[in-house]
């Protein structure tokens, strides 16, 4: 249990770094999704199922979706130019 929590924490730190280092925003969306999933697993490990559930629906679905749509909107505008 102790080791599991510790490993989850380290993975969360690495996932954050991955989000920052993926400079290509399209790739970053995947990193964000992964970050959301890792965080929600960590929250499960920290005995916070409520928070984990919201992190899954918000952090791993809605927010990356917003990113995706925003990137698409930027791309649409660029094509038109």
């Amino acid at each position: 249990m102790i080791w599991l929590t510790g490993i989850m924490l380290v993975i969360a730190a690495a996932a954050g770094l991955l989000v920052v280092l993926s400079r290509n925003p399209k790739r970053q969306i995947f990193a964000l999704c992964a970050n959301g999933l890792v965080l929600s697993l960590l929250f499960f490990a920290l005995q916070a199922p409520d928070v984990a559930l919201s992190e899954i629906v918000v952090g791993a679905v809605v927010v990356p979706l917003l990113f995706l749509v925003a990137l698409a909107a930027v791309a649409v505008a660029r094509v038109r130019k």
């Binding site: 249990m1 730190a13 989000v19 409520d50 928070v51 918000v58 909107a73």
Partner: protein, 116 residues
């Protein structure tokens, strides 16, 4: 182990700031902002955690069984909503700014250009 979560929180915050300061794409910058925010999640939840306690939901366990701190979890729920709302607003503005100026580079966008 007893300081690991605090180090992870500090690390996430610092990494997020680094990402923002060196970002060349506003959408990327918003992503880095959410990394900064995940530092606050980790910190708050870790503050309320206890090794020998279950979730603060007394459905399977009767009330009175040891449970972790529900207050910080409620705070993090609020925090998650804040993150989502700020992200939505930021991305909306980024999309509009891109339409008007044709750029999403935070090192090119600036209000009120110098006159000289």
């Amino acid at each position: 182990m007893s300081v690991l979560p605090w180090c992870v929180a500090a690390w996430l915050f610092a990494v997020g700031i680094y990402g923002i300061a060196t970002s060349r794409h506003y959408v990327h910058l918003v992503g880095c902002l959410s990394v900064c925010q995940s530092a606050t999640y980790v910190l708050l939840l870790a503050v309320g955690f206890h090794w020998h306690a279950g979730p603060p939901i007394f459905y399977d366990h009767p009330p009175g069984t040891p449970a972790v701190d529900p207050v910080v979890q409620a705070l993090v729920l609020t925090d998650i909503v804040i993150g989502a709302t700020v992200t939505a607003l930021l991305l909306a503005i980024v999309v509009q700014a891109h339409k008007l100026s044709g750029s999403v580079d935070p090192q090119r966008l600036r209000p009120l250009r110098p006159n000289a």
